[in-house]
C-alpha cells in the first residue's frame, strides 16, 4: 500500500485525498473498520426481520443507524425545515413541508418521498438498500422508541459518535509475535516490526554510537553530549553500555529542564498576561520550577494531574501543590478594565472558555470549544457538557499567593528582625559621615569661583593639561560613569611638547592595557584605545560597572603634558561616559602620581547631586577609614540578609465562591438558558460525569473531583494522551499525530494496539514516565539509523511506520543551549526567576525594549528565559519558538532565510563565537591545526577530515578563528540531530 509520496499524488483532488485517507484508515485500524463493516452489511443484507418480527429490534439495528448517521445532524437539535427526528412526537409531527411519517404508508410519508427521490440527504443520497430499509420500516408501522434518538450514538462520515476509537476502553492487547531473526529489543519493537512487515518494510540498522549518544542526549536533556562523554560511551565495552547511558541521562537534572519545557508548551506557559497591555508576571517562575522538579522526581502522572488541577484542594503541607495550580492560570488574561457589564461578562466567559479548553485538550485530547455555541460538530460533546465543565471553574480566579507556611513566616521574621535593626544603625552612621562630607564639599566649592572650574566632561572630546612630566606609563582610571554603566573610551591620546604628535599610538610602539574588557564584541577592543581610529566602532569598554582603567605604556620615557580623550569622537554615542576619573603617571608602572582628575571640572548634571566618590574624597583620612569599615559592615550585613530566603509567592489559582453557570444560547452571554450543575463530559461512557458535579462543593473540590475523573483508570483518554505525547517527542511524530486532538478531526493512530498496550502498561506500573522513556529509548525502533531509504519512502513517505529514525532540527531552546555549551559559557544554574532579554518599563501599556547586549546573566538554559507573549526574542521566534498565547502541542520546524541571517549575524552568535574561539585557543594553544581539531571536537564531536583541516587552517589565517567558530555553529551537522 502506498501511504505516501510522489508527484502524481500532488495532482489528486480533495476527494481522492480523502478517499485515500479512508482507505488507509479502514485497512489499518479496526476501530474505524468495524463501522465500515457495519455499514456494508447493512447495505448488502436484505432485511432479516419482517413485519411479524420484533419491530423494536429492527428499528435499533437497521433504522436508527440510518437516521442517526444520515439525518439527525440537521433534523435534530438544529430542526432544519422544522423537522426534529429525535423524538417520536416531533418525528410524527413533521416539519414545515408537512407530516414526515404516515405509519404503514411509505408513499405518503414525506420522509420516504424525499429519500427515495434522492433529494435528501443532500449531496450524498442513501443507498438503495438503505432506502428499502426505511420503506419497510414505515410499511410495518414505523415503530419509534419512546426514548429520544442520540446524534452521538454512532460515528458517521462527518462526525464521531460514542463509538469513536479514542472513547472506547483500552483493549487488552497481546503483543504480536515476530520471527526470531528480527532485531527486537523491547516489546515495542514487536508492534513496530509487525506493522512494517505487513508493508514489506523493515527497521533500519542500528545507528552508530557517535550518532546515538548525540540523539539521545539532545532528546532527554536538550543538550548535546561533550566530546569526552561521547568517547567514553564509544569505548564502553559493557553489553549494557547504552542502557547505562539512558539511565545516566534520565537521572540528570537537565532531563527535567528538557521535558518540563515540552510540558510548558502544552500548557501555554508564559510570564506575561498577553492581550493589549501584556503586563509582566513577576512571580510565575515557581510553576516552571515545579514542572521541572516533577519530571526530575518522576512524579506519577496521575498525581501530576491532580496537583495541577486541584493542588489547592489537596490537604498537604507541600506548598508545591498550590504552585502547581499555575497550570490553570497559565493562559493569557485580559486585564483591560471595562465599565461595560456586557464586556465584563464576555471577558469572564472567554476566560472560562480558556480554562475549559486548556483542561480538555491537555489531559483528554478533546477539543471542546465548538460546544460553546452549538453541540460539537465533530465530536460527541454537547453544549450541556461544555457548560457543565464551565461550572467546575466558575469560581476560579488568579492571584499571587503566598506559598509559605505559618512556620516559614515566623522563622523568617525571627531571622530578619535583628539583622534589620543592625543595618539601620549602620546606615545612620554612614549617612552622618556623608552629610558632614557634603557640607564640607559644597562649602569648598562655593569658595572656588565657578569659572575656575574646567568645563564638564563631554562625550566627544576632553583635554587634561598638566606640567610637563617625564613618564613611561599613563593610566586613566574611571571612578564614575553616567548610569553606572561600563565606561567606554574610543581613544586615549598623549602629547608632549609637540602638540601634533600623539605619543600613545600603537604604530609608534606604545602598548595599551586595561583592567578588563566587555567580552563578545569585535568593535570593542583594548587595542582600539591607541589605534588612531575614533568612534564607537573602534573603542574600548570595560567589563566593570562604573569603573575600570586603561593604560598606555610608551616605548620609552618621554615628557608628557597633555592627555586627550573621548567616548565617541564621532558624536553618535553619549552613554557610558566616564564622569569621574583621574590621570596618573608612573616611570616604573608601580609608583603612581596623579596629575589631573575630574574634581576640577564642572560636575555633570545637578550641581548638588554629588557622586559618592566626590563625597568620600571630602572626608578626612580618619573618616575615610571609618567609612570604609562601615561600608564593609554594611555589605556583610546585606549579604547575611540576602542569604535569608524571601518568603515564597507564586502566581496561581485563587478560587472564590463558585458562580451559577448557564447554558448560553449560541454562546451569547446575554442569552442565558438553563442552569447547569458541575459535571464532566458524558462523552466518556465508562464513567459517570455527574460524579464531578456537586453543587455545594467549593471550587477547589469541584476541580479535585474532575481530576479524579480524569485520572480514573477507566477513563480511556488520559493515559492514551500522555503516552502519545511522550512518544511524539521521542520520534518527532505521535502514534496519533495530533497530540491535542483525539477526536474526529484529529489523526488516526498509526499503531492503535501499541498505543493501548503502552497506555495500559503505563497505568499498571504507577503512571511512571521515566519507565516509559526507558522502554521507548531501548527499543530497536529508537536506536535505528536515520538514513533515507528511497524504497521505504515510496511505501511510507511520512515514515509513520518507523522504517527509520526521522532526523530533526534542534528546536529554538536546544539550539541556543547547544551554542552556549560549545562556547563554554553555559550557566547551568537551575531554578529561580527567569533571565530577561529585554528591559521592562511599567505603565498603562508597558513597554518592552530588546537588549542589545545581553550579558552573562542571560547565558542560562533557555527554559529559564522570560517569555513575553507579545514581545518575542527575534532569534527564538525565527526558530519557531511559540509565543505561548495558545497551546503548542507540537512545534513547527520551518526552514527560512531569516533563520540563516539570525544565526549568522545575531549579536548572540557573535558573542558566543568569540567565547568559543577563546576557549579553543585556551585548550589548543597557538597551533592552527590543533585549533581546528579542538573546534571540530567541541562543536561537531569529531575530528575534521584532512581536507577539512587544511581548508579550515587557511580560513583561519585569512579570517580568524572566530570566523571558523561561527561557521561551525551554522552547519547542518550542528543544527540537526540524526
Amino acid at each position: 500500500m502506498r501511504v505516501g509520496t510522489g508527484p502524481e499524488v500532488l495532482l489528486l483532488g480533495e476527494e481522492s485525498l480523502r478517499l485515500m485517507n479512508r482507505i488507509f484508515s479502514i485497512n489499518t485500524f479496526r476501530f474505524v473498520a468495524w463501522t465500515a463493516v457495519a455499514c456494508l452489511s447493512l447495505i448488502l443484507l436484505p432485511p432479516a426481520i419482517g413485519a411479524d418480527g420484533n419491530q423494536e429490534e429492527y428499528f435499533r439495528t437497521k433504522v436508527e443507524p440510518i437516521l442517526v448517521r444520515r439525518c439527525l445532524e440537521c433534523h435534530g437539535a438544529d430542526r432544519k425545515g422544522g423537522l426534529d427526528l429525535r423524538t417520536k412526537a416531533t418525528a410524527f409531527k413533521g416539519g414545515e413541508s408537512g407530516v414526515a411519517i404516515e405509519a404503514t404508508k411509505p408513499d405518503e410519508s414525506l420522509l420516504y418521498q424525499y429519500v427515495d427521490s434522492e433529494e435528501m440527504p443532500p449531496k450524498k443520497p442513501l443507498s438503495a438498500a438503505e432506502i428499502s430499509v426505511l420503506k419497510r420500516w414505515i410499511a410495518d408501522g414505523a415503530f419509534y422508541p419512546d426514548k429520544s434518538l442520540d446524534l452521538f450514538a454512532a460515528t458517521s462520515d462527518h462526525r464521531a459518535g460514542h463509538d469513536w476509537w479514542s472513547l472506547q476502553p483500552l483493549k487488552k492487547v497481546v503483543p504480536p509475535t515476530v520471527r526470531n531473526s528480527e532485531p527486537v529489543q523491547t516489546v515495542i519493537d514487536r508492534f513496530i516490526v509487525a506493522r512494517l512487515q505487513q508493508h514489506g518494510l523493515s527497521l533500519s540498522s542500528p545507528a552508530d554510537r557517535r550518532t546515538l549518544i548525540r540523539r539521545v542526549s539532545l532528546d532527554l536533556t536538550g543538550l548535546p553530549p561533550t566530546y569526552e562523554q561521547q568517547q567514553e560511551f564509544i569505548n564502553d565495552q559493557r553489553d549494557d553500555a547504552y542502557g547505562r547511558l539512558v539511565d545516566r541521562l534520565l537521572a540528570s537534572p537537565h532531563y527535567g529542564e528538557r521535558w518540563g519545557r515540552h510540558w510548558l508548551d502544552v500548557v501555554r506557559f508564559a510570564e506575561s498576561n498577553g492581550f493589549e497591555r501584556d503586563r509582566i508576571r513577576e512571580n510565575f517562575w515557581p510553576y516552571r520550577d515545579y514542572v521541572i522538579g516533577s519530571f526530575n522526581a518522576d512524579k506519577p502522572y496521575d498525581q501530576f494531574v491532580r496537583e495541577q488541577l486541584a493542588g489547592d484542594a489537596l490537604k498537604a503541607e507541600n506548598a508545591d501543590q498550590l504552585i502547581a495550580t499555575g497550570f490553570l492560570v497559565a493562559g493569557p488574561k485580559n486585564d483591560v478594565g471595562t465599565v461595560s457589564e456586557l464586556e465584563r461578562l464576555q471577558t469572564r466567559q472567554d476566560e472560562l472558555d480558556e480554562f475549559v479548553t486548556a483542561t480538555s485538550t491537555t489531559f483528554l485530547g478533546l477539543t471542546s470549544g465548538c460546544a460553546r455555541c452549538h453541540d460539537h460538530k465533530f465530536d460527541p460533546i454537547n453544549m450541556r457538557d461544555y457548560y457543565a465543565l464551565t461550572a467546575v471553574f466558575s469560581g476560579l480566579d488568579r492571584g499571587v499567593n503566598s506559598v509559605a507556611s505559618a512556620k516559614d513566616k515566623a522563622a523568617r521574621a525571627t531571622a530578619v528582625a535583628p539583622l534589620q535593626k543592625l543595618m539601620k544603625g549602620t546606615k545612620t552612621q554612614i549617612d552622618l559621615l556623608l552629610q558632614r562630607a557634603r557640607k564640607r564639599f559644597l562649602a569648598s566649592r562655593r569658595e572656588r569661583k565657578p569659572n575656575s572650574l574646567r568645563p564638564a566632561v563631554t562625550a566627544t572630546n576632553n583635554e587634561d593639561v598638566f606640567g610637563a612630566v617625564e613618564t613611561r606609563f599613563v593610566r586613566f582610571t574611571v571612578t564614575a560613569t553616567t548610569g553606572n554603566s561600563q565606561p567606554c573610551l574610543d581613544e586615549l591620546e598623549i602629547y608632549g611638547e609637540d602638540i601634533k604628535s600623539n605619543l600613545a599610538l600603537s604604530k609608534t610602539g606604545a602598548k595599551a592595557t586595561a583592567s578588563s574588557l566587555l567580552p563578545g564584541y569585535p568593535i570593542h577592543q583594548i587595542h582600539h584605545l591607541n589605534d588612531g581610529q575614533h568612534g564607537n566602532s573602534h573603542s574600548w569598554i570595560s567589563n566593570e560597572s562604573g569603573k575600570g582603567w586603561a593604560q598606555i605604556e610608551l616605548p620609552a620615557v618621554a615628557k608628557v603634558q597633555r592627555v586627550v580623550w573621548g567616548r565617541d569622537r564621532n558624536g553618535k554615542y553619549k552613554d557610558r561616559l566616564p564622569v569621574g576619573y583621574r590621570i596618573e603617571l608612573s616611570l616604573d608602572g608601580k609608583k603612581w602620581s596623579a596629575v589631573s582628575d575630574s574634581s576640577t571640572r564642572v560636575p555633570q548634571g545637578e550641581q548638588t547631586q554629588l557622586t559618592n566618590d566626590e563625597l568620600i574624597a571630602a572626608l578626612t583620612a580618619a573618616e575615610k577609614k571609618l567609612h570604609a569599615s562601615l561600608i564593609q559592615t554594611q555589605s556583610q550585613q546585606a549579604a547575611r540578609l540576602k542569604a535569608i530566603p524571601p518568603l515564597p509567592v507564586s502566581y496561581s489559582a485563587r478560587d472564590s465562591q463558585p458562580q451559577p453557570a448557564y447554558i448560553l444560547t449560541r454562546g451569547n452571554v446575554r442569552e442565558r438558558g438553563e442552569q447547569v450543575k458541575p459535571a464532566a463530559f458524558h462523552t466518556v461512557k465508562a464513567l459517570d460525569p455527574l460524579l464531578v458535579g456537586v453543587q455545594s462543593d467549593s471550587g477547589p473540590n469541584r476541580r479535585l473531583r474532575l481530576a479524579e475523573w480524569i485520572v480514573d483508570v477507566k477513563n480511556p483518554l488520559t493515559a492514551r494522551v500522555i503516552v502519545n505525547r511522550i512518544w511524539h517527542y521521542h520520534f518527532g511524530q505521535g502514534i496519533v499525530n495530533t497530540p491535542n486532538d483525539f477526536g474526529f478531526n484529529g489523526d488516526r493512530p498509526s499503531h492503535p494496539e501499541l498505543l493501548d498496550w503502552l497506555a495500559a502498561d503505563f497505568m499498571e506500573h504507577g503512571w511512571k514516565i521515566k519507565r516509559l522513556h526507558r522502554m521507548i529509548l531501548l527499543s530497536a525502533a529508537y536506536r535505528q539509523q536515520s538514513g533515507y531509504k528511497p524504497q521505504s519512502a515510496a511505501e511510507d513517505g511520512a515514515n509513520r511506520l518507523l522504517w527509520r529514525m526521522s532526523p530533526r532540527r534542534l528546536d529554538a531552546e536546544s539550539l541556543r543551549d547547544a551554542v552556549l555549551q560549545v562556547s563554554g559559557e553555559l550557566d547551568l544554574t537551575m531554578e529561580g526567576p527567569s533571565f530577561r532579554l529585554f528591559l521592562y518599563r511599567d505603565g498603562n501599556v508597558p513597554d518592552y525594549v530588546l537588549l542589545d547586549e545581553p550579558g552573562a546573566e542571560t547565558w542560562r538554559r533557555s527554559v529559564y528565559r522570560f517569555n513575553i507573549r507579545t514581545f518575542q526574542s527575534p532569534l527564538m521566534s525565527a526558530f519557531d519558538c511559540p509565543d505561548a498565547s495558545v497551546q503548542t502541542p507540537k512545534r513547527n520546524y520551518s526552514t527560512t532565510a531569516l533563520q540563516a541571517l539570525s544565526l549568522m549575524n545575531n549579536r548572540f552568535t557573535f558573542q558566543q563565537s568569540q567565547h568559543f574561539a577563546t576557549r579553543v585557543t585556551a585548550m589548543a594553544g597557538e597551533g592552527l591545526g590543533k585549533q581546528v581539531d579542538v573546534a571540530y571536537r567541541l562543536a561537531l564531536l569529531r575530528e575534521p577530515t584532512e581536507d577539512q583541516r587544511r581548508q579550515a587552517v587557511s580560513f583561519i589565517q585569512n579570517h580568524g578563528l572566530f570566523s571558523l567558530c561561527r561557521v561551525l555553529l551554522n552547519t547542518n551537522e550542528f543544527l540537526y540531530a540524526f
Binding site: D278, T338, V845, Y893, E973
Partner: protein, 478 residues
C-alpha cells in the same frame, strides 16, 4: 449593538490543501521540503496556489493605528451640526445601549465639501487623497468586535481578538507564496514604533515561522541581523558563507536525498542574496527628484518625512514582488504624539496625523497607477475601529466599533463608489454592515484565494482566517 460573533470553529468539511499535504508528508525530513521552502520564499508561483483567477497580486495595508475618526474624514454627517450638544439617545438608530454615560453629540471641527466626479463628501484633512476619490471604494459600514486597542488590532489582523493567531498577511503568503527570489513575502513597516499589540499584528500564529511578517526598519539595516555587527569585514562574511556551503554540501553527500538539508543550504543562499537586495530596496537614492517631491520625503517635519519614505519604500517592495506590505501610522500609546487615539482632542490629534500621511498616500496611489501597478495591487486604508460622534471630555472622541469607514483601491476594486452606510449621526452601521471576516474574505478573494478553502489544521480544526464567518463583499469588486 452588533451580535457578538464567535469564530473559534468551522462548520466545513475537512479539506486537505496541497500545502498541508506537503507538510504532513515531511515525516522529519521529507523530500518535498525544498519545494516547500522555495514555494514560500522564492519561487514564482504563477498563481499556482490560487483557487481562482486573482484580481490582485499583492496587498498594501495602510493602517492608522488606534482608530481614525470616520465622521471627521470620509463619512460626512451634516446632522451632527444640527444636533450639536444634544444627547445621542433617540438619534439615528441608537437605542439605549450604553453602560457608560456617553458625551453629547459633537460636530466635526473640519470643513467638508464634495470632490471628484463621484462627488464624494470629504473633509479638509486629506487634501491630496481627496483628489483621488474617484479611484477609491469607500466602505462606510465597517463593524468591529472589540472595543479596546489590543483585541481590536488582533481581530483586524487575525480574525481573533486574542493574540496568537496568524495574520492576514501570513495567511496570504501561506496561500500563495512570494513572487520574489530575494525578499521576504510579507513586510511590515512602522513610522512611530510598535503599534498596539506589537508583533502579534504580523505573527504567524500556528502557521510555520516562515509566514510571519518581516519588519523593515526605518533606519539602520532594513532587516534585523541582515548584516553582521559593525567592524566585521565583508570579505570574511562572504568567505564564511562559502565555507559553510562547502561543509554543508559535503555533509549532504553523507545524507543523500534528505530534502530539508538541501532546503537549509538554499535558505543560506537566499539569506546571502537578501543581504544585497534588502539594502537596495531600502535605498531611495536612485529615485528621481520628482518622485521624492511627490512623496514629500524631504518635508521639514521629520515625522512627516519618515512616513513619506515608508510609502516610497512600500512601492519599491511591491514592485519587487513582495506579496503583502503593511505600513503603520502610529505606535503604541506610550510615546507622544503617538497615534490616532484622539480621546482628548480630535482636532489637535487628527490634523498633524493626517498631515503626515495624506501627501505620501496620495503619491503612492498616483505612483502605482502611473507604473500600471494599481490594477493588480489591492490598497486598503483603515484603522482598527472608528470614533464616536459624541464627545469625550470637551473635544475628543471615544472608540466606536459599531460603525466606521475604510477605503480600498486598485486590485479589482470598483473605483469611485461607496458601500454601506452608518445612521444619520455616524454611530452605527445600518446599511450592509461589514464584519472584519467579510473584509478578510474579500482580501483573500482578490488574491485568488477562497477563504473557505484556505485552511490549516491546528488543535482540532481545519482553521480558517475567517472562522465560520466571512462573505466576500462582491459589490465593491468590479
Amino acid at each position: 449593538m452588533t451580535q457578538i460573533r464567535r469564530t473559534n470553529c468551522t462548520g466545513h468539511r475537512r479539506f486537505v490543501s496541497r500545502r498541508d499535504f506537503l507538510r504532513t508528508m515531511g515525516g522529519g525530513l521529507g523530500s518535498v521540503a525544498l519545494t516547500d521552502l522555495l514555494h514560500a520564499e522564492g519561487q514564482p508561483t504563477k498563481h499556482g496556489g490560487a483557487h481562482h483567477k486573482p484580481t490582485a497580486k499583492r496587498v498594501l495595508l495602510l493602517f492608522m493605528s488606534a482608530g481614525v475618526s470616520h465622521v471627521d474624514t470620509f463619512d460626512y454627517k451634516p446632522q451632527l451640526a444640527k444636533f450639536a450638544g444634544q444627547s445621542i439617545t433617540g438619534k439615528g438608530n441608537v437605542q439605549d445601549v450604553f453602560f457608560r454615560k456617553p458625551g453629547k453629540l459633537m460636530p466635526s471641527p473640519f470643513k467638508f465639501k464634495q470632490y471628484g466626479e463621484s462627488g464624494k463628501w470629504s473633509s479638509e484633512l486629506f487634501p491630496h487623497v481627496n483628489r483621488k476619490v474617484d479611484d477609491l471604494a469607500f466602505v462606510h459600514s465597517m463593524v468591529a468586535e472589540a472595543n479596546s486597542h489590543g483585541p481590536a488590532m488582533h481581530d483586524f489582523m487575525t480574525g481573533e481578538p486574542r493574540n496568537g493567531f496568524p495574520s492576514v498577511g501570513a495567511w496570504s503568503v501561506y496561500g500563495l507564496g512570494s513572487e520574489t527570489q530575494d525578499l521576504p513575502g510579507f513586510v511590515v513597516m512602522m513610522d512611530r514604533g510598535m503599534p498596539p499589540s506589537s508583533t502579534s499584528n504580523w505573527g504567524n500564529g500556528f502557521l510555520p515561522a516562515r509566514f510571519q511578517g518581516t519588519v523593515f526598519r526605518s533606519s539602520g539595516d532594513p532587516i534585523l541581523d541582515l548584516e553582521p555587527p559593525a567592524g566585521y569585514r565583508p570579505e570574511s562574511q562572504r568567505a564564511s558563507f562559502d565555507l559553510l556551503a562547502k561543509l554543508n554540501e559535503e555533509h549532504l553527500r553523507n545524507h543523500p536525498q534528505d530534502g530539508e538539508l538541501s532546503a537549509r543550504i538554499a535558505a543560506y543562499e537566499l539569506a546571502a542574496r537578501m543581504q544585497l537586495s534588502a539594502p537596495e530596496v531600502a535605498d531611495l537614492a536612485k529615485e528621481s527628484a520628482a518622485t521624492h517631491q511627490l512623496y514629500g520625503t524631504q518635508r521639514s517635519d521629520p515625522q512627516q518625512a519618515t512616513f513619506s519614505r515608508l510609502c516610497l519604500r512600500a512601492r519599491r517592495l511591491l514592485e519587487r514582488g513582495v506579496r503583502f506590505v503593511t505600513v503603520f501610522s502610529g505606535g503604541s500609546n506610550n510615546k507622544q504624539p503617538s497615534n490616532w487615539d484622539a480621546h482628548s482632542n480630535i482636532e489637535t490629534n487628527h490634523r498633524p496625523n493626517a498631515m503626515m500621511v495624506d501627501q505620501p498616500i496620495a503619491a503612492l496611489l498616483a505612483d502605482l497607477k502611473s507604473r500600471g501597478m494599481l490594477d493588480d495591487t489591492l490598497v486598503i486604508w483603515t484603522g482598527e475601529f472608528g470614533r464616536t460622534p459624541t464627545s469625550e471630555g470637551t473635544k475628543g472622541r471615544d472608540h466606536n466599533i459599531s460603525g466606521f469607514t475604510l477605503w480600498m483601491s486598485g486590485g479589482g476594486v470598483k473605483p469611485g463608489m461607496a458601500y454601506g452606510a452608518t445612521d444619520e449621526i455616524g454611530f452605527q452601521a445600518v446599511e450592509k454592515p461589514v464584519e472584519i471576516a467579510d473584509l478578510h474574505a474579500t482580501i483573500l478573494h482578490t488574491l485568488g484565494l477562497n477563504h473557505e478553502r484556505l485552511t490549516y489544521y491546528y488543535n482540532g480544526l481545519q482553521r480558517r482566517l475567517t472562522g465560520v464567518a466571512g462573505n466576500v463583499i462582491r459589490e465593491v469588486l468590479s
